[in-house]
Subunit: 322 residues, 2 copies
């Protein structure tokens, strides 16, 4: 029986990832908080990954695969510099150190596969039309810098043989269910989610803004596929850019219109926010992701599909076109 540990298992992706496993797999979730209402039936460990006693508990059944999703999001890492670096780097370092300890204590017998969620925020402008797999990581946010450091750390632990694993760089995940979060990218989901729930949504940028998206369902598929890959077969170095869909805000809105109608689209209120406009300017718009596609990763090919996945997975399929 394979066993899985999801660090950050209380988060949106963590919960959906947990639901993707069958009853034949042992799934443990570690997080500082768990949602009150959840369909997830898994062993929950409440605490910090930096706490040695918590990690000892989490590693006690020697999980084969560890998904590391825990992170302070981009907006919060930018607003709270120390918290961002503490959680996004120091906690990850402390996690890796404990993995290495277990490796040593077991004389090299315990060697889990660590799948780390990095982000396209590791890239900074200027960008080519399509970002290639070997594009320079030159982040322009604290969040991006922290993710890039984690990639370097994980790769060195893997190279030295203390664990296996892979860092995958997720597109912006859209449509996120639930409430807006502190990520500066939050509006990309908000302009779809809020109208579909009968609420008004702020659009802080112009409709010609282009960005790189994938659904939460794709994120789960990326993680599961990454865990199945044989890293030895990979020729790249640090982390793998995940496939996604490049589309403009206008294309997002038209997809919403085709699925939910004009009245729903009217709930989107243009409300330019210079701060967000400035941040978004420095973000990637499109990728090539040749290596990932060759390895069998895939994402949505239209934003309508992304909207439909939100409706199916998070609104239980109920949308009335008005």
């Amino acid at each position: 029986m394979t066993s899985v540990l999801i660090i950050g298992g209380g988060g949106m992706i963590g919960q959906k990832l947990a639901l993707s496993f069958t009853e034949n797999e042992t799934v443990s979730l570690l997080d500082m908080n768990f949602p009150a209402n959840s369909d997830v039936n898994a062993h929950k460990i409440l605490g910090s990954v930096s706490d040695a006693s918590i990690m000892e508990k989490a590693l006690s059944n020697r999980p084969d695969t560890i998904f590391y999703l825990a992170s302070v999001v981009s907006g919060e890492a930018e607003a709270n510099f120390s918290k961002g670096w503490d959680v996004n780097i120091q906690a990850f370092w402390s996690f890796l150190a404990q993995i290495k300890d277990q490796y040593s204590k077991s004389d090299g017998e315990y060697k889990p596969k660590v799948i780390f969620t990095s982000s396209i925020a590791v890239f900074g402008s200027p960008f080519p039309n399509k970002i290639s797999d070997d594009f320079l990581t030159a982040p322009r946010t604290s969040y991006g810098a922290q993710k890039a450091c984690c990639e370097l750390m994980l790769n060195d632990f893997i190279r030295k043989g203390f664990c296996e694993g892979l860092a995958i760089r997720l597109p912006t995940i859209c449509v996120r269910p639930g409430k807006p979060n502190l990520a500066a990218s939050s509006f990309f989901s908000g302009i779809i989610r809020e109208p579909l729930n009968g609420l008004t949504a702020n659009l802080p940028v112009s409709t010609d803004v282009r960005h790189w998206h994938a659904s939460p369902r794709s994120a789960v598929k990326f993680l599961r596929h990454a865990a199945r890959l044989n890293r030895d077969a990979l020729t790249f170095n640090s982390a793998l850019n995940m496939p996604g869909l490049s589309c403009t805000v206008e294309e997002q809105i038209e997809a919403l219109r085709s699925i939910a109608g004009n009245e729903v689209v009217k709930l989107i209120e243009p409300n330019p926010d210079e701060k967000i406009i400035e941040i978004v300017k420095g973000w990637p718009q499109s990728f090539e992701t040749k290596i990932a596609l060759d390895l069998g990763f895939s994402a949505e090919s239209s934003f309508e599909d992304i909207v439909k996945i939100y409706v199916e997975d998070d609104l239980q399929g109920s949308v009335i076109k008005i």
Copy 2:
């Protein structure tokens, strides 16, 4: 009166850098060790950069420029994984955190310029013929991963305005005076230095190995020039590749022959070492360094010049061609 702090001021480059300042500049050196015999007349602070009381002492006169040279070298970082990450990352992080503290305590008045010595070890093969300024950092050693993380950290502190500064990526510094060190690149200096001192030298690689060199004198010039630059004028992101000389071991040997004669060259003993051959395969051979050249950085244009600088600066000009 400008004041300068050199962290790692007891090392080879630190000592030469200290000697480059005039009596009108206050120079303090911080290190865990200092050479017993030294021409350097500077304020010495013995201790660790991670020790808050030591750093308080080092920052008490609010140095305008801080050169951060302290590092566990490549070979040692590879052999002693934990020590490498502790010294090369955690200590640098602790240093940056203290700089930020001083910035906050002074209400943003104290904002030194931090010049960090990174390395071409941040790059990993496969390489193009000449590595460009925006080539991907994908290190294949712990040392390289650590330097790349430090670059990311420093840049985020600079971006947030807690300090000014620049990370410069040094070529292999050749000819290093003194004893061989634990760097895997040590032989590049050894095959020149040992024969010039009447000693035999091991050559662990083939003579067609090509590498990227600059003299210690150039290293000091890079650091001094970096400290004078206005970072705002720079268009690049993370760190600046320094100019150097691309040459083969054979070209190194012929330069030695032209300066010191056949008998001296005979002291080089080919002694292939598979471990070093393997490491060196993953090292850069040549760079473009367009940005650095445009900014006025320069290095030697022949290996003979590099040998002559060693003779002038470290052998007091005394070589008898035999």
